[in-house]
């Protein structure tokens, strides 16, 4: 087969496979990346980016990030840019097609950098971090390309100065990486010594001086000036993790000229070289791709919550639990459990199904402390009817990570839920300047002006009935799960709605607090018009009546199944009492039928660490 044709196939097959993998396995991840970004078609907003070094690159990157709203489109753009990077590198540095594969290394590294972020995605605070590195890399390639075209020492000197200032303003770090790559390319070329010397001296000077010169115009910390444009996360310690892959990718163009002795020669075994480069690259990408099942399930469930697709949220955990059934030590994370509970509540199924899922508190596979509230705080607080806290955390997140579509949406919904219509309109005005959220903004605007419509429209139909308590000050320093439990167990309300009482009873069940249970149970019975208690309320009442040894409560009209399960459960527990140390032991011993009871939850799902 023709060598050029093989090279062409690689240029097509690899991107297509990567694109397919992105769409199949990471669709919700891409949607979450987009939801955490913002691009406004508004000169006032764009102008802010033009005031700081690397701001224009961030702005351009945010412009492209918005297309992830249609995941295949955004992914296609990203993959095309990665492919373009590889092709441009190849054309610039590699004469023999056998070594073309080397040009793919930066693109693989950049792809791996984004797909390996995992939980860091919740705390990325550099705007446009998803497209930024690939755009930055193309900037590096552009610098080398232009330098090659300039034939005179004075032209090179002029370019270096202009690039050092304008390029730094546009792309920050990447402009300097471009100068270093161009210097390496030039120094190893056959060009005049004078040109090389001029270029090297001026490059060093502008790399040192440009940030100092522009620093006066910015409010950055001076130490950050040389790394502006690189992806960053909330904590300083994550810098190594977020910087390294991108710096490594931009170093490849610096190194390639040194390999020109090899890459310019015709290879005897081009296929072998391709395999030797591409296979490890694919392996590297595969290994770095954050594939943790719980992380992916969490992302899917968060996206489902954002889309108000409650069934998808429930089914995600259900499917995962079914698949993990053979793996006895499997536990979901607290986030998955909380989102599942929320979805069950919203579909009115919590009293029948809440404890039929695996419960647990599997630690998230994350390298840094990322509180639950920064991951799903705004979702939980809004849908549980605590809009003040949803509003607060949206603003806290904005303070740390910048404005985003998702935060603006939740701010709007929280404001409408608190009857703060004027400020809701302010957030909607911003969303009006977006490409993909105008329609949502129009719909919300109508709701904003119409109380009756709000009461009937999702998600407000299930939020407004929960905002029925006397306002209180809340504390969530111990985490949002604790705050929610505290809210539903401790908040008194003379105007509680049946929905509020139902959810308060559910949280009482989750708390395993008998007193709280009976208090909320009575309120629930009073406010609802039920004729028959649902399964888990029966199990809880039956259990607590036995624990309290209350004969009257024991003789309530329980289903025979409730009693029979209780007896079986107690018998199993007595039989294996000495073998059970923890939740995993219990999971191994108890059959699914008994694991799906409130009794099992009460005795074994304990001590799970929320965060």
């Amino acid at each position: 087969m023709n060598k050029t044709r093989i090279s062409g196939y690689i240029q097509i097959i690899l991107p297509v496979l990567f694109l397919a993998a992105l769409i199949i396995f990471s669709k919700d991840y891409l949607l979450q990346v987009e939801g955490r970004s913002l691009f406004l078609f508004d000169w006032f907003w764009i102008k802010d980016f033009l005031k700081t070094p690397a701001g224009p690159l961030s702005c351009l990157s945010l412009f492209l990030t918005q297309f992830l709203h249609i995941p295949w489109l955004g992914a296609l753009i990203w993959v095309m840019l990665l492919t373009l990077s590889a092709v441009a590198t190849s054309r610039l540095y590699i004469k023999e097609s056998g070594y073309n594969a080397l040009a793919y290394i930066p693109s693989f590294i950049l792809a791996g950098a984004n797909m390996s972020l995992g939980y860091l995605m919740f705390i990325m605070n550099s705007l446009g971090y998803f497209f930024g590195p690939v755009l930055g890399y193309l900037t590096v390639i552009l610098a080398v390309t232009v330098c090659r075209k300039i034939r005179t020492a004075s032209g090179l000197g002029l370019f270096t100065v202009i690039w050092g200032v304008a390029g730094y303003w546009f792309a920050g770090y990447y402009a300097f990486a471009g100068l270093i790559a161009a210097a390496s390319d030039l120094l190893l070329s056959k060009r005049d010594k004078k040109e090389k010397t001029v270029f090297a001296i001026i490059s060093v000077a502008v790399i040192i001086l440009s940030p100092l010169l522009l620093y006066g115009l910015t409010t950055y910390n001076l130490q950050q000036s040389w790394t502006l444009g690189l992806p960053t996360a909330l904590y300083q310690e994550t810098r190594f993790r977020t910087f390294c892959p991108v710096i490594a990718a931009t170093l490849i163009p610096v190194l390639l000229p040194f390999l020109s002795g090899i890459t310019d020669r015709q290879s005897r075994h081009p296929q072998l070289i391709r395999i030797a480069v591409i296979v490890p690259c694919i392996l590297l990408l595969f290994l770095s791709w954050f594939k943790d099942v719980n992380f992916n399930a969490e992302i899917t469930m968060i996206q489902a919550t954002d889309d108000l697709d409650w069934n998808k949220s429930i089914n995600t955990l259900h499917d995962l639990s079914s698949r993990a059934d053979k793996k006895k030590d499997y536990q979901p994370t607290r986030i998955m459990v909380l989102l599942k509970d929320l979805a069950l509540i919203k579909t009115g199924r919590e009293s029948q199904q809440a404890f039929a899922f695996d419960d647990g508190g599997m630690k998230q596979k994350k390298s840094h402390d990322i509180p639950m509230v920064l991951q799903i705080g705004k979702e939980l607080y809004l849908h549980y009817g605590i809009p003040g806290f949803c509003h607060r955390w949206c603003l806290e997140e904005t303070g740390e990570f910048g404005w985003s579509y998702s935060r603006l949406k939740y701010l709007t919904m929280a404001s409408i839920s608190m009857n703060d219509r004027t400020v809701a309109l302010k957030y909607l005005d911003m969303l009006d300047h977006t490409l993909f959220y105008r329609k949502w903004s129009r719909q919300q605007r109508q709701i904003c002006y119409n109380d009756i419509q709000a009461e009937k429209t999702a998600p407000y139909d299930l939020i407004l009935p929960l905002v029925c308590y006397d306002d209180q000050l809340l504390e969530d320093i111990r985490g949002c799960e604790y705050a929610l439990e505290h809210h539903f167990l401790e908040t008194s309300s003379g105007k509680a709605t049946p929905l509020y009482d139902r959810i308060a009873l559910f949280w009482a069940l989750k708390s395993r607090n008998a007193t709280a249970f009976w208090t909320k149970f009575l309120l629930y019975i009073e406010s609802s018009d039920i004729t028959k208690l649902d399964r888990y309320y029966q199990e809880a009442a039956y259990l607590y009546s036995h624990i309290g040894n209350n004969k009257t409560l024991m003789s309530l009209p329980y289903d025979s199944n409730t009693k029979e399960l209780y007896d079986s459960f107690m018998a199993t527990m007595q039989k294996y009492a000495t073998d059970i140390d923890n939740l995993n032991d219990a999971r191994r011993i108890f059959p699914v039928r008994l694991r799906n009871t409130y009794y099992y939850y009460y005795f074994f799902v304990r001590g799970l660490e929320s965060f």
């Binding site: 910390n221 904590y235 603003l395 806290e396 608190m418």
Partner: protein, 494 residues
């Protein structure tokens, strides 16, 4: 050639100049505009008062007329060129008339006036902060030239903090509107109070073993080298669902006097059953006004929770305390406003430069009007200590921090009147009888600025001149200098 070009240019200029319609219907109302600049009083040296016409129409023309000239602007964004603005503001009054073309018919709205009054200090400074409780990385103190739209950073958190260790800059203040003598606090990383004394930078730590905290809310003595400051142990908590988003409460409060000359701190008020705060000097510096709430709860770890529970019982009353600045001796405190008796709470007493008026915030309870929708202004006539609600400047949302211009003719204050969440700056003129004119928003080049801007303005202060120390000088000084501990003077001096 010249003979052709010059007439051509003249024709072009004349053709481009918008002409007012001669045939139109009249509307009986003023047009809806944002910001609301209808029938206001403005300073003669203010930047052009750009605004947006919010009427639905196909075309817009705005005519601004005064005795010294006329300007006609096309379009619904009324951006007035600075040179033309300077010309029309030379007279006493500007009449603004808006014409809108709807369905090929021009409508002339009822004209409104901008009365031109006393000059205002050319500079102001304020904090720009994210509307969050804990995330304050992007906080800056900025200065703005009121005669144009130029805004510059004075100092920024991001220039000081190290990512792992945050910083919070706050409570900037000037002695007699003079930037050669100014101060602000830096909390947490590289913390201390930054003092500029006669143009020279100092960094001090006002926390001593005998005081409960470093200095917080300041008031610089008008004639002597003293700054009265509150000491606060502040906590914040968030409302579950309320227009008041945040509750800010001090577990303990005292008032101290800081001597800038010898870096000493002495106590003014530190009654353990009182929460004393917000000192404010009279114009002659011989009286200190402050507020105080009676509160008794055991000191210890539970006090914080208890005070949050009791928050609606915290009623801050207004007191005055005579002071002799030469001998640094204090007289007995006197109750001026008994908040407990009327179930309210008074904060932020600030006296006009002529000593005649004092404006304070009044709310239902507590110490932090910024986050209380119920907060309004009252104005005291210090001739007889009578007061009234300044309804002409109050709104249904929180009115909070206010300050006087150096000539005492203008008041600047922060308010959430536009959307209930984002604090904005407004100005009002005061006449000899203590009456304010209709307030107007800080003019911006982009009239929609207040709608689009998602940060809040905070702690506005007038200045006669800009701060000359650059942000880099401040940042480098703060980062490289350790705070000098202040010495405690036990003598209370009463």
């Amino acid at each position: 050639m010249k003979k052709i070009i010059i007439p051509l240019l003249v024709i072009l200029i004349v053709a481009c100049k918008p002409t007012l319609p001669s045939d139109y219907d009249t509307a009986g109302t003023v047009p809806a505009i944002f910001p609301d600049y209808t029938d206001i009083t403005i300073p003669s040296n203010i930047a052009p008062m750009n605004f947006l016409i919010e009427e639905q129409a196909d075309a817009y023309l705005t005519e601004l007329t005064s005795e010294s000239g006329q300007v006609v602007i096309k379009g619904n964004t009324v951006s007035i060129p600075k040179s033309k603005w300077a010309r029309i503001t030379k007279s006493q009054e500007i009449t603004v008339r808006v014409y809108c073309r709807k369905d090929s018919k021009w409508i002339a709205y009822k004209p409104f006036k901008m009365s031109i009054s006393d000059e205002i200090d050319p500079y102001i400074s304020y904090r720009i902060i994210p509307v969050a409780v804990e995330s304050y990385e992007k906080l800056t103190i900025r200065q703005r030239n009121l005669t144009n739209y130029s805004e510059k950073v004075v100092v920024s958190n991001s220039m000081i903090q190290n990512n792992a260790q945050g910083t919070c800059i706050n409570c900037h203040y000037y002695k007699n509107w003079d930037t050669d003598n100014m101060m602000f606090h830096v909390r947490h990383y590289k913390g201390g109070t930054i003092l500029v004394l006669d143009g020279k930078l100092h960094k001090v730590n006002m926390k001593t073993d005998s005081t409960i905290s470093a200095g917080v809310y300041p008031s610089w003595h008008p004639t002597h080298d003293y700054i009265a400051l509150s000491n606060n142990k502040t906590h914040q908590s968030v409302h579950a669902a309320s227009h008041d988003k945040l509750e800010v409460i001090d577990e303990e409060n005292d008032i101290i006097l800081y001597n800038t000359r010898d870096n000493t701190v002495s106590v003014i008020e530190n009654d353990s059953s009182e929460l004393e705060c917000f000192p404010g000097w009279s114009a002659d510096g011989r009286t200190l006004y402050y507020v105080s709430a009676h509160y008794e709860a055991p000191f210890g770890p539970d006090r914080k929770n208890q005070i949050f529970i009791d928050r609606e019982k915290l009623h801050f009353s207004l007191y005055s305390k005579p002071f002799d600045p030469d001998t640094r001796t204090w007289g007995a405190k006197e109750l001026i406003y008994d908040a407990q008796a009327v179930d309210s709470s008074m904060t932020w007493p600030r006296v006009s430069p002529d000593g005649r008026w004092m404006v304070c915030c009044v709310s239902t309870h507590g110490i932090f009007p910024l986050d209380q929708i119920a907060s309004d202004f009252v104005i005291y006539d210090l001739k007889d200590n009578s007061y009234r609600y300044a309804d002409e400047i109050n709104s249904r949302f929180a009115e909070s921090y206010h300050c006087w211009s150096s000539n005492g003719k203008w008041i600047m204050f922060s308010t959430r009147r536009e959307d209930g969440v984002h604090t904005r700056l407004y100005f009002s003129h005061i006449d000899g009888n203590g009456h304010f004119t209709k307030p107007f928003a800080l003019p911006q080049r982009n009239p929609e600025f207040n709608r689009e801007f998602l940060y809040a303005f905070n702690i506005p202060e007038f200045m006669k001149e800009p701060v000359h120390i650059t942000p880099r000088q401040f940042a480098s000084f703060i980062s490289s200098t350790d705070a000098t501990p202040s010495k405690y003077e036990s003598k209370k001096g009463e």
